[in-house]
C-alpha cells in the first residue's frame, strides 16, 4: 500500500510534467507529415531557449535581449568544431555550451550588477557584438555565406538525423531541461530568485547572495540557448549569421511574454505561439509576423497587472485540477 500511495503521490506532484512529457515524446506516432515534424523539431529547440529566458525573466526578473547571441555561439561552436576540427557532434555541443557559459559569466558578472534598462542594453550590445563577429571573422565563420555540411547527430552507428529519431532526442533533452528548471524553481534557489526579483535589497538582507544567483541563472539560460543552437545546427546541417540577431532575441522574449511570466509552463505555450503564429500569418502575408509580435508585446504590457500573466496561470489551474483528481482517486 505504501508503495502505491507513494506512486500516486509522485503522479499527483508531477502530473503536469508527466502528461506533457508523454504527449511530447509520442506526438511523432500520430504525426507523419514531414512539415509538422520539422515544426515540432523547431519547437523543441525554441522551447529550450524560451525556458532559459523564462527562468531569467519570469523567476529572477532580469531581462536579456541577447539570448540569440548564445544560440549563435552554440550553433557556430558546433558547426566549426565538427566541420573544421572533426569533433564528434556531442562533444562539440558540450564544448560550445561550456564556451557559452564562460561568455555568459564574463558578461553577466558586470552586467547583472546593472538594473533594468542598463542590463537590457548591455545584453543587446553583447548580442550585436556576437552577431558582428560571426559576420566579420570570415576565416572562422565563413561570413554571411555561413557554414554547410554540418554532420547530423548520431549514437555510435545509430543515426539520429531521421525526423522521428531526432524528435525523440531533441524533446528528450528539452524535457530534461524542463524538469531541471521546475525543480530549480520549486527549490530554495527558485524562491531566492523570485525574492530578488521583487526587491534585491530585501533578498540580500535575508542572506540571499543576490549577484551570485543572478549570474547563475543567466549562465544557465545561456547553456540552454547554446545547446538549442547546437541542435538546430545539426538538424539543419547549415548555419548562417542572420539567424542570431537581436530580432530573434526579441522574438524569444515575445514567446516568454505571451506564455506568461508567472510560471515556467508559460514557456511551453509561448514557444507554441512563436512557432505556430508565424506559420499562420505567412498565409496572410510573409512579413507580418514581427508586426504582430510587436503589437502583442505592447498590448500585453498595457494590460499587465503587477506581473505579466497570460495563458500560463489558466493552464496551471487545470494542472492543479488534474492533480486533485488523481489525489481523490488515490484515497
Amino acid at each position: 500500500m505504501g508503495a502505491v500511495n507513494q506512486f500516486y503521490r509522485y503522479l499527483r506532484k508531477h502530473a503536469g510534467f508527466l502528461i506533457f512529457a508523454i504527449v511530447a515524446m509520442t506526438i511523432p506516432a500520430y504525426v507523419g507529415d514531414a512539415y509538422y515534424l520539422s515544426l515540432l523539431a523547431f519547437t523543441a529547440t525554441r522551447f529550450m531557449m524560451a525556458l532559459g529566458l523564462s527562468l531569467l525573466l519570469g523567476q529572477a526578473g532580469q531581462i536579456s535581449l541577447g539570448q540569440a547571441g548564445f544560440v549563435g555561439i552554440g550553433a557556430y561552436g558546433s558547426a566549426i568544431m565538427t566541420t573544421r576540427l572533426g569533433f564528434d557532434p556531442w562533444i562539440a555541443m558540450v564544448l560550445a555550451a561550456v564556451l557559452s557559459a564562460a561568455v555568459a559569466a564574463v558578461v553577466g558578472i558586470p552586467a547583472l550588477r546593472l538594473r533594468g534598462y542598463y542590463l537590457a542594453m548591455a545584453t543587446l550590445g553583447v548580442n550585436e557584438i556576437i552577431y558582428l563577429l560571426l559576420v566579420r571573422l570570415k576565416s572562422l565563420t565563413n561570413g554571411t555565406d555561413g557554414i554547410t555540411g554540418i554532420p547530423g547527430l548520431s549514437f555510435g552507428a545509430l543515426g539520429l538525423s531521421g525526423p522521428k529519431a531526432y524528435h525523440l532526442v531533441a524533446w528528450g533533452v528539452a524535457l530534461v531541461m524542463l524538469r531541471l528548471s521546475l525543480n530549480l524553481s520549486s527549490s530554495r534557489v527558485g524562491r531566492a530568485l523570485r525574492a530578488l526579483s521583487r526587491s534585491e535589497a530585501a533578498a540580500q538582507s535575508l542572506g540571499i547572495n543576490v549577484s551570485y544567483r543572478k549570474v547563475q541563472v543567466f549562465v544557465m539560460a545561456a547553456i540552454f540557448a547554446s545547446i538549442a543552437g547546437s541542435f538546430d545546427a545539426h538538424y539543419m546541417r547549415f548555419v548562417s549569421p542572420e539567424a542570431y540577431t537581436v530580432t530573434f532575441s526579441i522574438i524569444l522574449i515575445t514567446g516568454v511574454i505571451i506564455g506568461g511570466l508567472g510560471s515556467l509552463w508559460g514557456a511551453v505555450w509561448g514557444t507554441l505561439a512563436i512557432v505556430i503564429l508565424p506559420e499562420l500569418l505567412k498565409r496572410v502575408h510573409s512579413d507580418l509576423t514581427n508586426l504582430v509580435f510587436g503589437v502583442l508585446l505592447i498590448a500585453i504590457m498595457i494590460f499587465w497587472q503587477g506581473r505579466p500573466r497570460a495563458l500560463g496561470p489558466a493552464l496551471e489551474k487545470w494542472r492543479k485540477m488534474i492533480g486533485g483528481r488523481i489525489r481523490r482517486g488515490a484515497s
Partner: protein, 292 residues
C-alpha cells in the same frame, strides 16, 4: 598615419558623431521627462530617413521632404507615447523596456512592409563637390550634418534655458510631482517632449541618409549607438549626450583607421559595455546606474 589622413577620419567621426549626438539627445529628453528608456529611439531616426526618401520620391523638393519627414515622425512619436508609453509610466522598468522594444518591432516591420527591404539614399542637400580642408576632403553634406546638428543643439539649449516652456520641461525632469504641484501640465509636456524627440530623431535620419543610406533595419544600430553615446556622457545630461555622441563618433572613426573598417560597430559596442561595466554613470554624469 599622416595628419591629412587623421583629419579625414576625424571629419568622418564628427559626421556620424552628430547623428549619435542627436539620437542620444532624444534618449535623454525622454528619459528626463518620463524615466523611460525608449528602445524605439533608433527606429524613429530610421523612420525619418525613410520618410524623407519617400516624400522626395513623391516629388517634393528636398527641403520640403525633409521638413515633412520631421513633422510626420514627430506626430508618430506622439502617437507612440500615447499608446505604448503613457499607460506604462507606473508599471516599472521591465514593462517599459518590453513595450518600447515591441514598438521598435512595429516601426521596423511597418517600414519594411511599406518601403521594402532595400537600402535607399537621398541626394546631398547641396551638391557633392568636395571641399578641401588641410589635405582632407570634406563632402558638403558633412558640413550640413555637423552645422545643422550643432544648430539644433544650441537652439535646444536656448529653448531650455530661456523659455517658460523649456523651463517647465526641465522642472518635470527634476521632479514631476513637484512640477505638477506648481501647476505645470505634466501630461501635455510629455506629449511635447515626444514630439520634440521625434523631430530631432527624424532630422538626424534625414541628414545622414545622403551619406550612409537607410533601410528598415538601420534603426537598431543607430539606437544602440545613441544609447552608448548617452551613457558615455552620463544618462540624463543633455550636454553629456552631445559630447558622448561626438566622442563615440570620433573614437569609432579612429578605430576604423587604426584597426579595420569591419570592426567599426564592434568598437562602438565594446565602448558601451566598458562604460556600463566600469563607470555606469558615464564620463560626465553624476547619476548612478540603476537608481531611477
Amino acid at each position: 598615419m599622416s595628419s591629412a589622413e587623421l583629419l579625414q577620419y576625424f571629419f568622418s567621426g564628427i559626421t556620424s558623431g552628430s547623428i549619435y549626438a542627436l539620437t542620444a539627445l532624444g534618449f535623454t529628453l525622454v528619459f528626463n521627462a518620463t524615466s523611460v528608456i525608449n528602445f524605439a529611439q533608433g527606429q524613429l531616426v530610421m523612420l525619418g530617413g525613410m520618410l524623407g526618401v519617400a516624400l522626395y520620391g513623391a516629388g517634393l523638393p528636398l527641403w520640403g521632404a525633409s521638413l515633412g519627414a520631421v513633422a510626420v515622425v514627430a506626430a508618430v512619436a506622439v502617437g507612440f507615447e500615447r499608446v505604448a508609453v503613457r499607460p506604462l509610466l507606473q508599471k516599472g522598468v521591465l514593462a517599459q523596456v518590453i513595450a518600447t522594444v515591441g514598438a521598435s518591432f512595429v516601426f521596423e516591420t511597418a517600414a519594411m512592409l511599406i518601403w521594402g527591404r532595400d537600402a535607399v539614399g537621398l541626394p546631398p542637400f547641396s551638391g557633392d563637390e568636395p571641399l578641401l580642408v588641410g589635405g582632407a576632403t570634406v563632402a558638403p553634406q558633412t558640413v550640413w550634418v555637423v552645422g545643422l546638428s550643432v544648430a539644433i543643439v544650441v537652439a535646444l539649449q536656448m529653448f531650455f534655458r530661456t523659455t517658460l516652456l523649456g523651463k517647465a520641461v526641465r522642472a518635470c525632469a527634476v521632479d514631476p510631482i513637484a512640477a505638477r504641484l506648481q501647476g505645470i501640465p505634466y501630461g501635455r509636456l510629455v506629449t511635447f517632449v515626444f514630439a520634440l524627440t521625434g523631430a530631432i530623431a527624424a532630422a538626424g535620419g534625414v541628414m545622414i541618409t545622403p551619406i550612409s543610406f537607410m533601410s528598415y533595419h538601420s534603426g537598431s544600430l543607430l539606437g544602440l549607438k545613441g544609447f552608448a553615446a548617452a551613457t558615455l556622457g552620463g544618462l540624463g545630461s543633455p550636454v553629456g549626450a552631445v559630447m558622448g555622441g561626438y566622442v563615440l563618433g570620433v573614437v569609432e572613426a579612429l578605430g576604423v583607421g587604426f584597426v579595420s573598417a569591419g570592426y567599426k560597430d564592434v568598437i562602438a559596442f565594446a565602448i558601451l559595455l566598458l562604460v556600463l561595466f566600469s563607470r555606469p554613470s558615464g564620463i560626465l554624469g553624476t547619476r548612478a546606474a540603476g537608481h531611477h
